[in-house]
Amino acid sequence: MLTDNERKRYDRQIMMKDIGEKGQEKLKNAHVFIAGAGGLGSPIAIYLSAAGVGHIRIVDHDTVELSNLNRQILHWDENIDRNKVDSAREKLSELNPSIRVEGICETIGEDNVSQLVDGYDLIVDAMDNLPTRYILNKEAIERNMPFFHGAVSGLEGRAMTVLPGKSACLRCGYKGPVPREKFPVIGVAPAIIGAIQATEVIKYIVGMGDLLTNRLLRYDGMSMRFTEFKVARNPQCDHCANL
């Protein structure tokens, strides 16, 4: 049940016929795991908090650095040297005190991923490297949890939604290890991709619209074009072939 305060807070989205009070209750009861509190994690967490997702766990091992502030809009100058998850939790709780936000300052790895995502409905990818993305993708597949992928570089980005066993996963096109590199980026790119990921999460929770499954959406800010590419499940995929 929604409270009177919640009915007022979410009035404009409850007005949407596809959401309504039932959809808002689904958002309130949802448990969302956000992997990363940086450039992508910031807009994802802000929009999901504002929309009333009731339970958010955000995980990141980093502290806020000056060079983060061009894009990681959850963190401000006064937060430099603080744990990103503490900085994030504070802002999100002030934005929406009616939701529960938990921050965990840990490095996501094969050894702890299962424990970290336990009890959550879905995983949102806001990582800054591919190896950890594959760890999260695998965990999502094994738990039959949706996985909402996003990545950026420069003024470019991409997003794809994975429904295990039903659509291509992040690993389906794997060709081998990719080196970790420091990447160039300006804040508007993760803002756009993060907002797309948050849109997908909201649609999934409410049960409305068409998800970005078997489709890779690519954004090129330089030419201001969105391009969609079809992707398919790989019968030999080492993560999802057995589903």
């Binding site: 450039g39 490297n129 980005g157 980026v185 890779l216 590419f229 398919a232």
Partner: protein, 90 residues
């Protein structure tokens, strides 16, 4: 077969800024070979020392992933190839 290749922006520095290049070939591999013939500096950006496509590269043929065996995929007149680079940032 005449095929248009759409280059990723990181590759355009090797094609004098050209976003697309017209090539001829019967499959994706032949098309990429001709691309490298026209712009030899692209070779190391697309292939490793053994001639295998780099892991960071994704090939899409007419808007659909060409994975796996991308290089063997047959092409026909008017087809379009997109070369994308995997993104890792967040």
């Amino acid at each position: 077969m005449s095929v248009k290749i759409n280059l990723h922006k990181t590759h355009r520095q090797y094609t004098n800024g050209q976003e697309t290049v017209e090539v001829n070939g019967n499959n994706v591999g032949e098309c990429l070979k001709e691309l490298v013939k026209q712009y030899p500096d692209l070779k190391n950006e697309l292939f490793d020392k053994k001639g295998k496509l780099l892991s960071v590269l994704e090939v899409y043929l007419n808007g659909a992933s060409a994975y796996p065996d991308e290089l063997a995929r047959e092409v026909k007149d008017g087809d379009e190839i997109h070369l994308l680079v995997m993104l890792a940032g967040g």
